[in-house]
Symmetry: C2
Subunit: 407 residues, 2 copies
């Protein structure tokens, strides 16, 4: 007993030390470094590594306020700071109970590479109630609060104005293309396009990061992605962009043009039209952001412009009479309704969703973030990707040697 | 400039705080808790999780000295303690340059689940020099010192007393069984049996943890495995045990019996013979520890008993005239030359090497350690495993419900 109370006293003293120290320290952190502070830990954790990589590891590109931490007996990463202020953000995954084991590795990957440090919440949505096994396993793996929600029937069913026969004929006609014959896939696309951000569990949040089964993060994410979004005024961020199968969205662009003609006020004057169209808006070039990875500000989807746009698309029926995906829908909206500078490409977030990889071709980035991917597998600069166009339209400088990763 | 020096002063003060605090704290840690202290962090990191799993997560089976840390503004895990004393231990992986990408995920898994916390060294051995790509990638992924060594020719070639023709005939004869026709596989088995612990890079160490490509850890390892080995007097530890293909070791047991008859003094009086033989040593029951995962004390292999034993086997030629594996060789030696209590099974270290899994069937263990495996995939209690026998011979109590995982 004496020993125990003795320990508690020591711990109490320790607590005072830490709090005082953290407060002390927090006053001296420069805003610029905030969401890259953790990168110093990444470097120092390998400080005993062989010189070959060390030279690179020591280079920390970010002006981090914890740089000088290497002078400390050990690094105190920002996420251990009890005063660390998380953003108003959550992860979100749409899943069925049977997806549990397919999803576990993807969740663990995000936890290992990012969220075990920052401990953001995670929202799971399902058209059926989640079972105990799903909830117990996921809750054990996730560092933040975990919330499980059921999707309202009206957000996962054919709306009254849709002709069931015609929808069935579409599925028959499209049965030879991927998910062409699937009703639930179409409900998913419609839900991800127009409803997920309306779910009651999502009302508490502004930013989200979408995670799907069978995906993987290749590299450590050594900064607070959500803080970056807010501080850099980004509303939509992606890792992989790609061309859509035209057959799934035959009338999407015509419908979009009608909407814009009727509502020109929603078109942002500094929009990203040139990313999605090669002829100033006449036709759609099929470029879209791959939404299986998506970090965005829900204000974009909750805006009057997008609400009206989705309603217009939903009335047109293309989610069921064709197979409109949430990826082209989100991408077109992000390209038309917000300034193009608010769309961000996360070059340094190594990401995999079969069969494509976002793998930083810059050796320094890969080594600093402990990437597990082969640059030769990177999809970014290949012809079927649209990210080269993203760089061109925004007039950004491409990473050194990108030409060797085309074709 | 003024701001910078100001920050350095603050950091210096912070450093003093921390060091003082750690010294203070370290005096109050109980040995019993040492290698399980980290488990409290595991629990507290999920402290915001839903009640369902929380009830389990909060239960910490180990009497940990940092239990009371939950009273702190945040946990200080033992591995962040600058005074934390690592064991004299290293990871070791035998690899070829072309194994790089197959090995990366296995290495990252060990780093994520264990070594990013404890930062033990890693030794890579190869019969050819490692190339720059291999070294740069591995060094960037591993938290501890990384060392790359070349295997001396005499440890990776036919010894002079081996008849090359006869060895070639063996490979022809065995070409239909796995690795039956491979020379390099035989060099590997011989090297892992008799030479790896003699390599100059291994001379600095006492304990090792062997890691192979295409393996995975399913669960967080929330304690210092090497400290456990030393403090609990364990010399050999495994996660999966299994029966050997008899055709690969037809004369191994006869040869072993000859050796024991000639050197009875090496047989430990409290040996584990009953694990490897069902008839008191007359015949070998083919049970062995799967050495693709192996944590052991090299004093065992460096002992006179094992040195003489290996020499005897090597002279007999079975590594080349049959296809003796390092697994049965290590297992037989561990069973005969040390007290059986020094052989340990890591129930809580979830592990995968195709096609078998060690997945804790105890829900509490899986949840507390964030396991990513399905208990129904556990191999431990199936008939082809030998771990049930391990429990029986040592008179250990099997986990609740093991009967549902047999067959």
């Amino acid at each position: 007993m004496a020993k125990v109370s003795d320990r508690i006293v020591r711990l109490a003293v320790f607590a005072v030390f830490i709090v005082g120290a953290i407060v002390f320290l927090s006053q001296s952190s420069s805003p610029a470094g905030k969401y890259t502070r953790q990168s110093t830990t990444g470097a120092s954790s390998s400080s005993s590594s062989s010189s070959s990589a060390q030279s690179v590891l020591d280079k920390d590109l970010a002006p981090s306020s914890l740089q000088s931490n290497s002078k400390l007996p050990f690094d105190i990463p920002d996420y251990l700071d009890p005063n660390y202020k998380r953003e108003n953000a959550t992860f979100i995954s749409l899943a069925r109970n049977e997806d549990l084991w397919e999803l576990v590795d993807a969740i663990r990957s995000v936890e290992d590479r990012f969220n075990s440090k920052y401990k953001y919440d995670w929202v799971f949505l399902n058209d059926q109630p989640f079972n105990e096994e799903f909830k117990t396993v996921m809750t054990s793996l996730i560092s933040g609060n975990v919330k499980y929600g059921v999707i309202p029937k009206k957000h996962w069913s054919l709306p009254p104005w849709i002709d069931e026969k015609k929808a069935a004929q579409t599925r028959e006609r499209m049965k030879n293309i991927i998910y062409g014959d699937s009703v639930s896939y179409r409900h998913m696309c419609r839900f991800e396009s127009g409803f997920f951000f309306q779910h009651e569990l999502m009302q508490d949040y502004k930013y989200y990061w979408r995670v799907e089964p069978s995906t993987k993060l290749h590299c450590d994410v050594n900064f607070d992605v959500f803080k970056f979004m807010r501080e850099e005024n980004k509303d939509y961020a992606f890792t992989i962009s790609i061309h859509e199968f035209e057959i799934t969205i035959e009338t999407l662009w015509e419908t979009t043009k009608e909407f814009i003609q009727q509502n020109p006020q929603y078109l942002d004057k500094n929009n990203f039209m040139d990313f999605i169209s090669n002829d100033g808006g006449e036709t759609y070039n099929l470029c879209h952001f791959w939404t299986n990875f998506e970090v965005a500000n829900m204000d974009l989807w909750r805006s009057e412009a997008y609400q009206k746009y989705f309603e217009y698309l939903d009335q047109a029926g293309g989610f069921f009479y064709e197979r409109w995906g949430d990826a082209p829908v989100h991408s077109i909206a992000a390209a038309l309704f917000i300034p193009k500078e608010r769309v961000h490409y996360f070059e340094e977030i190594g990401y995999y969703h079969g069969p494509y990889n976002n793998c930083p071709i810059d050796d320094e980035i890969r080594i600093k973030n402990k990437c597990m991917c082969k640059p030769k597998d990177d999809f970014t600069w290949q012809d079927y990707s649209c990210t080269r166009r993203y760089y061109d339209v925004l007039g950004l400088q491409k990473p050194l040697g990108w030409e060797q990763h085309t074709g």
